[in-house]
């Protein structure tokens, strides 16, 4: 049996945010998340925040991130922030039908004794006619038990979104 276990699949259309709740638990410490077919109504940032065990989105100014934009048509650029209210987890989407792909590893979200970390790799189309790939790391600097994750674009909506969350099982 695979040690990569599918926990949740979520699809949505024309929504301003997507919350996946009750997916992080004591069963796993590391999670893999995929996001596909993510057309945005507006070309904009794609952000994420964790959801605590009470079901509330954590929007405190406790997120740090560092990201590398790798356009396929020009030089690379850096992005970074400390003490933000969310993390730039996936960068830009598009306002067409070209699609979007993202892979993300999430560490220790449920562990109330440690910070929650994430890594993202994505590829997307922005601006029109220009493609980019993207890598980032981020941390929620709060030793809080998180049971879910929320994604939201800075403006507009997700026309279509598919999210899958897997746990990396460790058998002792």
């Amino acid at each position: 049996m695979s040690n990569l276990r599918l926990i949740n699949e979520t699809t949505a259309s024309s929504v301003a945010s997507v919350s996946i709740t009750n997916v992080f638990s004591a069963d796993f410490d590391i999670y893999y998340l995929s996001m596909t077919t993510n057309d945005l109504s507006t070309a904009t940032d794609n952000n994420y925040r964790f959801i605590n065990s009470s079901g509330s989105i954590i929007s405190a100014s406790s997120y740090d991130y560092a990201s590398l934009f790798m356009p396929m048509y020009s030089g690379f650029t850096e992005g970074k922030a400390t003490n933000g209210s969310s993390a730039l987890g996936a960068s830009f989407g598009n306002n067409g039908t070209e699609g979007f792909g993202l892979s993300m590893y999430i560490y220790n979200p449920f562990n109330s004794s440690s910070y929650s970390f994430a890594q993202v790799q994505s590829v997307f189309r922005y601006p029109a006619g220009g493609n980019q790939s993207y890598k980032s790391i981020s941390v929620l600097k709060s030793a809080t038990s998180c049971t879910g994750i929320n994604f939201f674009p800075s403006s507009g909506t997700y026309d279509n979104i598919n999210l899958r969350v897997y746990g990396l099982r460790v058998d002792s």
């Binding site: 695979s2 040690n3 990569l4 410490d29 590391i30 740090d64 991130y65 560092a66 990201s67 590398l68 850096e78 970074k80 922030a81 400390t82 590893y105 560490y107 220790n108 562990n111 440690s114 910070y115 970390f117 994430a118 890594q119 790799q121 890598k135 980032s136 790391i137 981020s138 941390v139 600097k141 030793a143 990396l168 099982r169 460790v170 058998d171 002792s172």
Partner: protein, 167 residues
């Protein structure tokens, strides 16, 4: 993608090294490190590959990475003919830990070099988010069968290390 666990070790009391072995096929393998913390402040974790279960301590490791930093401009980190593959310095305060996904290539092939890619997310001893994204190679034509971790100084205080086969 499917992952099959090959070996794992969870450190709960200080130990000098962690070795994971069991690579015996030409598949790609993956190592996941989580919540790895040093017993000594400002120590960085070091990766070596194993031959017959023992760390290859030669000076044949080459590495290159982009270092993402939330607190300052990014850097490039590279070295040739090193004795280890090095990562960010971690600390002993809350969550000054190391997380990493490492893919291993050609380990079982005695006619090729052994390669890896890594994606690190660390909270360093100065309480800043940093991580190296890159790759490394052991420039020896030999079969390697696992990975070996230690800190640059002192012991491994805690952490979980797991080796998976990607099938």
């Amino acid at each position: 993608m499917s992952l099959l666990q090959v070996a794992t070790e969870t450190v709960t009391s200080a130990t000098a090294t962690v070795t994971l072995t069991g690579i015996d096929s030409d598949d790609v393998y993956m190592v996941a490190l989580n919540n790895v913390q040093p017993a000594t402040d400002a120590a960085y974790i070091q990766l070596r590959f194993t031959v017959g279960g023992s760390a290859d301590t030669s000076t044949n490791y080459d590495r290159a990475a982009k270092e993402l930093r939330a607190d300052s401009s990014f850097g490039n980190s590279s070295a040739t003919n090193g004795s280890t593959i090095n990562f960010i310095q971690n600390g002993t305060n809350t969550s000054e830990t190391h997380q990493n996904i490492i893919y291993l290539y050609n380990f079982n092939n005695s006619s090729e070099y052994s390669f890896c890619t890594f994606e690190e997310a660390s909270f360093m001893y100065a309480e800043a988010l940093r991580g190296r994204q890159g790759g490394a190679v052991l420039t020896e034509t030999q079969a390697t069968d696992g990975v070996h971790f230690s800190f640059s100084s002192g012991n491994i205080a805690s952490g979980t290390f797991t080796l998976y086969k990607v099938v």
